[in-house]
Amino acid sequence: MDFLGALNISGSGLTAQKMRMDVISQNIANAQVTRTERGTPYRRKMVVLSSIDGNGSFQDALDKVLGRRTSGVQVKSIVADPSPLVPVYDPAHPDANGEGYVMLPNVNTTQEMIDMLGASRAYEANVTAFNATKAMALKALEIGR
């Protein structure tokens, strides 16, 4: 792994955390949506992150030359939370079903706020790691001065 590869790894971490933050914002904004384009209530979305591991194979070397990432983190998929929707008794609501229950999204705003804290702290941690790597590189240039 060349030296500046560490900077790309931090960059991939920043992108992943930013995407996580985007999904959290989406969840919070849509916390009361009972009618999406498909007609169903909004389901909470979650981000699945996976790591890209370099293993020294030929495929790795090829990816490196082609500029594709060989290590770091990537967003594998954005999946819907399978936990049940929240029924709320409100017969006057236009989307109420036969018994007068409206199915609201399974978004717990408190949980989202906690996730948001986690994402922003992780973002800051990646920025700190990046700055540390850059400081090391610049320090190395002082050898023999």
């Binding site: 060349d2 030296f3 930013k18 590189a137 610049l138």
Partner: protein, 106 residues
């Protein structure tokens, strides 16, 4: 540990491969001193130009609102900064070596 003279290719090759970031294949070792310095300079200048050009493109994209991740731009700017600093330091070292050589009284 033996002192490695600056004229030998290995230490310069190491520094060169560090600046090359995206690992282009390393240039073959230049045997004679003058041609080696010139080649190293040209490579470094090309690399710095490349990273500076990426910074300019990023600034343009930000100004017209096309980028949605700001951090990639900042990372490219930081890489350009490192490349530039590396070039400056190497230039200093190379000039020092050159002036040492010129100071030899014949």
């Amino acid at each position: 540990m033996a002192v490695i003279p600056i004229g030998s290719g290995s230490s310069l090759n190491n520094i060169r491969s560090m600046t090359e970031g995206l690992s282009k294949p390393a240039q073959p070792d230049q045997a004679d001193g003058g041609q080696g310095f010139k080649a190293v300079f040209e490579q470094l200048i090309d690399k710095v130009e490349e990273t500076e050009a990426v910074t300019k493109i990023d600034a343009y994209k930000l100004s017209i609102g096309e980028t949605d991740d700001l951090h990639t731009m900042m990372i490219n700017a930081a890489k350009a900064d490192i490349a530039l600093q590396t070039m400056v330091q190497l230039r200093n070292k190379i000039l020092d070596a050159y002036s040492e050589v010129m100071r030899i009284n014949l």
